[in-house]
Structure formats: C-alpha cells, structure tokens
Amino acid sequence: MSSAFELAAAIRAGEQSAVAAAETSFDTIDGRDEEIHAFLHLTKQRAQAQAEAVDKAVAAGQDPGPLAGVPIAIKDNMCTRGEPTTCSSKILEGWRPPYDATVIGRLEAAGAVIVGKTNLDEFAMGSSTENSAFGPTRNPRDTSRVPGGSSGGSAAAVAADFVPLSLGSDTGGSIRQPAALCGVVGVKPSYGAVSRYGLIAFASSLDQIGPFAHDVTDAALCLDVISGHDPRDATSIPIALTPTFPTVNDGVAGMRIGLIDELMADGIDDDVIARTNQAAEALTAAGATVERVSIPATIYGLAAYYLIAPAEASSNLARFDGVRYGHRVDGQNVAAMNVATRSAGFGDEVKRRIMLGTYALSSGYYDAYYGKAQRVRTLLADEFATAYEKFDLLLSPTSPSTAFEIGAKSDPMALYMCDVCTIPSNLAGHPAMSVPFGVGDDGLPVGVQVLAPMLEEAKMFRAAKALEDAAKGMS
C-alpha cells in the first residue's frame, strides 16, 4: 500500500480518486478483519460522502488538504457524530454522540476519510486489547499474538494495511506499546498539543491523542493536522506546535541523546535491549552523541501511574450511571439502578481500576496514595528536566517484550508491567514515539522509543526518521 503522503499527493493531483481509495480500504478490511477484528464499526456512509467531497473539490481545482482522500481509522473512544462510540464497553453500546471530537473535524477539514472505529481495551484500560467487551483484536504479524493495547485496533488496522493512518490515545503507553508490538510508528504528543475535546476520558491529566502510521513521515503529516490550540479544551496549549513534517529529514548530526539506564535493565527482554543498543549505535553513526543517563524516578513511575490514572478514572467514569445515555438496568430506585447498570455495564478491569482509584482518593488514604503519587510525578519531571539540560532527546525500549500470546498474561500485574517504559512520558507530559527497529528472537517486531522535552516533537521526529532509515538498511 502506498503511504498516506503519496496517496494524498496522487489524489490532490487528480491521478487517483478518493472514492476508489476508500473502496480499496473497505475491500481490504472485508478480506481480513473477520480474523483481525481491528474494527468495531465501519463508517461507510460518512466515508463515501467525504470521499466524494474530496474528489469534487479536486475536480473543481480546490485543494482538499494535506490528507486528501486518505482513509483513516479512529479508536472507538473518540466521539463521532451520529456514529456508534463505545469505548469497547457494554455500558456505551448503542450510544451515538451528538458531536464530533475536535480531531475528527481537523482530519476531515484536511481531507481525510474516516472509515471506521477501532477496537480497544475497555475505556482504554489495558495493554493487549483483550479487555474489550466485543472480543480481542489479533496482531496482524502473528494472529496468535496480541496487538498490544489499549489502542490495539488502531495499531492493527495500520499493520494489516487496512488504512495508512489511524488515531489512538495514549494514557500510559496505549499508542506506543501497540505500535511496537505491531511494527508500526506510534506517537504520543506533548500533553496539550492535540485537543482532548471529544476523547472519552480515562485519566484526563495523562490522556493524549496521537497517530499511528507505517512510517515516520506519515505520522508527522498526521500530527501536524491534528495538533493545534482548541478553545474547547482548557488544557490545550495556547500556541501552535512547531510543524514536524518539514524537518523530518533533517537528521541527528550534533544531537546529544541519552539512553535511559533504568529502562535497559532487569524486566526488559534481552533481545529488546540488544535492538535498543543497536538503535543507539545507529544514531551515533548518523552523527549524534549517545550516552547513558540515569533517571532514577522512572522506576517509581509505574506505581505512581497506577494510583493517579485509576483515581482520575474513578471520577471520569462516574457519569456512566444509566440516567442519561447508554446501557440501563432497572432497579427499585435510582441508587439501585445505578448499581445494577454499572455492575452489568463495566468489565472486570474497569471495575478493578474504579475501585483502586476510589480507594486512593478516599479520606484518610489520599495523602498516602494519591498525594504521594503526585509528588513522584513532580520528582520525575524534575529529573527529566535535569537530563534535558544535557541531552536533546532520550532513548529507551518501547515495550519490555515483543507481542505475547493471546491469553498469556492473565495476571493484571503482569500486564501492568508492559507500560513500564512508556508511563514516565505521560506522567511528565512529554512527547515520545515508538519506531520499529528490527525484530526480536521470535521474529516479531521490536520498537524503540524516542523521548523529547515538552513541545520538541520536531526534533523527536528527526531522530525517529534517522532510526527508520537505519532499520531499513539492516534488513
């Protein structure tokens, strides 16, 4: 399949039609998604109308935008007007939002064609896309394996060539980890760079929308479209993000890059460590200086995250009470209806995190848990700041392992460990992305993670592109 960049160029030049590109996408999905289960819902009518509008604009000599006619898949926790938006939860089954998320409007304004909504771990809570009320997604590289999660459907949709681009959301690694496991590029932008308006919140202070793509250039193209200030999101950064696409090929000559000690240690598989070391060498070869750096607080990141994220989730998910929308199970009175609805509507992992978060915020426990976790967050941000006095970027593995077998990790703690490398960036609010870099001993993709200071996406993409180029040379 051609890249998003090439496809948009062909459509803008009138060499290919957007309607045909959408049809190709739907045909590919029809051919293989029964097996993969990347999609929960296809938005065929909306796609048809948008593709026709793009073709009409091209015919009229207008420019439909940088993503003209590019089919794109959307994680099903972003609101799409009139189309089902479920968060892979029974509690939202049948709900159709009356409005579009800001990113949806931005994509369509840039000419993109939304083809469907993708599977995820219920309410984005998970690292394998097994916790979906509508069944798991399979990894297109090996269908006995998980695609990672929680944005497993969006990662798989790109990896399976259903679409050249998709959007995911990343709260603790939910874009980067599935990108690594599926062998695609996944980006978590700076907190506030992409509007969260219309993203159904899991943990509001950590959630961020970002793109999946086959290559770094397409990811840059997509990020430049979806980023930017949104007055409807009070946490949206009031300035425009420096575009990433124009400088993606500028290289890493002279850059100082730190390889994080704590994420090259026990708990990370040897083959993943070996590939990450190779990535460091590749960057050195491309003209960067790479040195080891210690960021001790990263090892507390996981613990802090599993207090902060559930705490916010326990509040964010309170609204699913059966009163106004979604699933309702009747009861003797309102309170009984609330309990019956939530008991039936939420899956086990969601309930587990709501209970964790409720406990962490409880009077008498707040300081010991939530309060302390927030202090870890501050400490981590301080340590990152110190590291960035010396380094332009940081480097680490994305995931401790390659894709694991479906059903292999039944212990919640084992799954939580999947996010150990990705969580620190969410806690700090910094951008980070995963780039495929060779394969592990099992022949499955390995991803390496490039981390950057706040709003330094452009620099991050340059390093990611250098790694992508080096990886091409390896195989």
Binding site: C79, Y197, L199, A234, A318, Y325
Partner: protein, 476 residues
Amino acid sequence: MSEPAVLPEGWEMVIGLEVHVELATATKLFCGCANSFGDEPNTNICPTCLGLPGSLPVANEQAVEYAMQLGRALNCTVSRSIFARKNYFYPDMPKDFQTTQYEEPTNSEGFVVLPDGTSVGVERAHIEEDTGKSTHLGGGGRIHDATATLVDYNRAGVPLVEIVSHPVMHDAETARAYVAELRDILLVTGVSDARMEEGSMRVDANVSVRPVGSDELRTRCEVKNINSLRSLGRAINYEARRHVDLWTNGESPRQETRHWDEDGGRSTSGRSKEDADDYRYFACPDLPPLVPTQADIDAIDAAMPALPAARRAALAVAAGVVVADTALTVERGLDVLVIAAIDAGADPTAAMKHADQNLSDGQGQLTPATFAALVAMESEGTLSSTQVKTVLGELVTNGGKPADIAATMGFEAMDTSELETLLDGIIAASPDEWARFVEGDRKVQGHFVGQIMKATQGKADGKVVNQLMTQRANQG
C-alpha cells in the same frame, strides 16, 4: 422593648451560614449555554453541561471576574485557586461529580459589616457549578420513594459562588441582617440578582447551641430549603430550641441535614451526615488554576462601586449620627442625596429625618439643591412641617424650586402676632384645658394646636405654636 427570649436562660445559639448565589452571567460556568431562569426544561443544554462522554469544561471568564469582585466586596483575600471535583452520585448532577473549589478557593477570609456595626467573618467564597433540578413524582416528593424522577438540566452548570461564614452569629436577627447585607452587596456590585424566591440566592443554616460563656462548638445541623428572610429566622429559632430541648433531656442532636418545612413551622430529618459520602475531592485535571495578578485585583478594586457599609460610614460622618441610624437611608439609596444636601448647607438632622420619614419611594425629581433649600426654609420657620411635607412631595413628583411651589400653594409664613391673637381666643374659650396645660399636662397640647391649625387651614407652624404656648404658660 425586648422580645420574649427564644432560648431558655443560660443557652446561646451558634449560627454559621452557607449562602449560594447564582452569578448574573450571560452563559454557564463551563460552556456557552444560556444562564437563564424559567425557560422550557432541557433547552439550555449542550454536551458539556450534560456531561456527555468526551466533553470538557472551559471556565467562563466573566464568572471568574464576578466571583473575584464579590470576594473583594466581602473583604476577602483573592488568590490563586484551583477547581476540584466533589464526587457523589445524584441524577441531577450530569457528571456525578460537582466541579467546585476545595483546598484553594478563589476568595478566603473576609468579613461583612452589618448596619449595627457587627462584623461577621467570612471563611471563604468559592466558585462552583450548580446542579440540574429534580422533580420527584409520587411518594412524598423525595427521591427515595419516588415512582419517577424528572430532571431539568437547564440549571446544570450555572455559575455559583458559595459564601461560607464562620460560626459567629448568635441570634436569628443577626443572621437575617447578614443575609440582607449580602443581598445588598450582590445587588450593588451587580454580581447576582439575589432573588431568594427564584433560588438565585439560597441560604443553608448551620445551627448548634451551647451554654452561655462556653466557647465549645457542639453538634450542628444544617437546615436547608429556606426560601425567605422570614423563613431563615423561623428556621434558626426552631432548630436552636430543638437542640436545647434535646440537651436538656439528656439527649443530643445527630449531625445531619434537615429540611425546613415553612408551612409546618418545623425542620424534618434529611440524610444523616454520620454516614455521609466521602466526596473524594481532588484537583480537576481538566481545568488549569486561576491565577489573578495583582493588577487584576487592583483593577477590580478600582472599579468597585461604593458598598453599603462604606456608604453608611460616610453618611454617619456627614450627618453626625451613629452608623446604625444610617441603615434605612442607605438601603433606600438616598445617602448620596442627603450628603450632597448637607454639603449644600442643609441641616443634617432635618435632612436625615426627611430621608427616613418622607422619602420611602425614593428621591424622584428631588435634587440636593432643592432638598437643601427646602430644609433651610423649614429651619428658618418659613414653612410649617406639614407644608414642608407637601412641598417635598411636589419636588419628588415634578421637581421645581421649593419657594415657587410654596408660593403657588399659598404657603405664606404666618405672623406670630396673628397666632398669638388666635391662641388668646382659644385659651379664653377653654380655660380648664389651659389650666391643665399650665400644670404640666402635655396631653392637652394637641387640643390647642389642633384648633389653631383648623383656624389657619394648616398654615401655622406647629413648632411655633408650641413655643408660644410654653412662653405663655411660663408667664403665668
């Protein structure tokens, strides 16, 4: 003079008030929906105030400014503040949490000075969103036994400021005066329309009692559903007496929320606070802190209209009276007129007297200059007090010059000799009454004044007649 004591001797009330006021903004606190009372249910709603999945709040700048203005009017410290989530389930609360302020409110530690000089400490005045409105069908109108509940979300997300007083009031009258003063402050600043009946100003009373002389704080009850100043006084007195009865019988009140039943004149038990929800407050991650600069606060102070307490103090100085005696004039908004009239030479006592007694409908067309001129004519004895009242009424209604109006109405000052002749005649006609007057019986004075007024068709100055009578009596 003193009313019957509300509580038995030896007991004292302790009252703290929580007053919620709706801010008079055009739109809601976190979205662009109209902030409008009385519209068709569920017409002023959007994804944000309905708490739909994915929606986000953005703070309304006007609401924040109003809240800070109010804070300064309450003599509070305005500082960096953060929004917090108060988590509990209720069907009329769309997100099942209320966005409010907890540990760092916008306004903290101020005070309100009442007309009698009492200063009531304000602990905080924080910003929060209102809930929707539930109507419970069937049962007793309560949620627990309702067969169905209708919810109107028009009010959901309307901006509120909750003003929390310290528990420093000790009688219902002070509590009422405090609420009345808050209302005046809200109206003067324009921050709220402060209508208790429409619910744009809602008062909850925290009431407890203790032995006089003690400084302990005993178990309190929060009384809700108070819809007027009258209800406030009744509810506080009822609740305090209920507590004294309990303590006296060796029992103790439960800490709980109680519901004031205005028709029944009693409070009934609501939900108990002992097993109250743990609200699990935490900083709202969707809203950045509000960080006013010193320049912002200075600008608010500079634009602040004169507040009732300051106006009373200014009037007291100008008129040479105690502050408590200026309350009515300031409440009527006549203080500016009176001070200007005094500056223009009016007798302060006379000006204050007219403001209190004869200008209950406001000043109308009356100006400081005409007011001062009229008061001067009265002081000089040119017009009788009855005539002054008539001319004043004319000045309020149509304006003009007091001298011209007096002339038009034929109010010429009467010659004293004329009055003396008249008085002689009346004394001669009623010797018994006159003898009693000479002996000091002032009750018969009206007999003489009335006769003279009748004879002069009200043109005589009552004061002059009184003086003449006293002189004559002293002469024997």
